[in-house]
Symmetry: C2
Subunit: 155 residues, 2 copies
DNA sequence: AAGTTAGTTCTTAAAATTATGAACTAATGA
DNA sequence: TCATTAGTTCATAATTTTAAGAACTAACTT
């Protein structure tokens, strides 16, 4: 597979970043490899070998990343192998998913406001502000993406 | 401590959400309790008792949340207890921290661009787009916050 | 000086996560 | 038909994370 030391280091760093974002270690390394690799598409065995992990670890990681749509694969006629690649365009969707997660939290916060019984209502203001800001984010972030796309297209 | 069933349920839900965002279980429940509780400030013992966890679990969780500035505490003259409370205003900082985390990732992505050797340069475009969008986010998110603050002040 | 209070620390245990290797399957090829 | 390829699955092992409980400390009280 022939990775430079720089590449190996980057794979680990990107791996750690993804671990910190909740992806399991092996899958996180696969993410690192897929983005750092000179080849856009890699096979199961290339991944296993490049990362020195077991076939089962590879199998788990790949299926996880396929399910979460971090990866996809293509095939070629007369070739039984799958060629895995990053679903690059996916960062847009990942972005929206993050926003939705925030919105889910916001639902809980509204319930808090209903359920808890603070003596002084002033105490609720901070929370109301936060809720309001999350609403605002939810509303404005898609616009932000749109604005960037426009600006980026021009150049 | 007298929590309603609704409150207990919400504490768990908020706890799970925080767990999914990388906070350890006990600390995540403390976050839930602090926001759901009728009292704005709670003592060490109240927390221990309300969540039915050990003193060491409480100690760990509180120190973690103090370090990460999710919580702070106040004291009163002639009272040795600490009264823990959420650092409410802190969501603004948490927001900026999230942005910084993205920026950190972006640094790695730029390195990828330098280090990897893709045959067709077209392949780099998607990555360049992503990098560019992250830059844009980094630049615009603070403005978004500012704009919200302004709009919110008026009402 | 002896006891209380408000926590902390340490050892250990339990639980959860992750990876391994071997055995398996299903499709293809010789 | 037998072998090979491209994986998957399963039982187990290793590692990590988390919590418990008991012993401890440091400050204050009586």
């Amino acid at each position: 597979m022939n990775l430079t030391d720089q590449q190996r280091t980057l794979i680990e760093q990107i791996g750690v970043w993804h671990e910190n974002n909740g992806i399991q270690p092996a899958a996180a390394r696969v993410m690192g490899l897929m983005i750092v690799s000179d080849k856009r598409e890699l096979t199961f065995d290339e991944i296993t070998e490049a990362l020195s992990i077991s076939k089962s670890a590879t199998s788990n990681a790949l299926n996880l990343l396929l399910r979460t749509e971090h990866l996809e694969y293509i095939t070629f006629p007369g070739d039984r192998k799958r060629y895995f690649k990053m679903k690059i365009s996916n960062w847009r969707e990942a972005f929206t998913r993050k926003i939705d997660d925030l919105t889910g939290f916001n639902v809980l916060l509204r319930q808090v406001l209903e359920v808890r019984n603070r003596n002084c209502d002033e105490s609720d203001e901070g929370l109301q502000d936060f809720i309001s800001f999350l609403d605002y984010l939810h509303q404005e972030l898609p616009n932000l993406l749109a604005k960037w796309e426009e600006q980026n297209k021009k150049s």
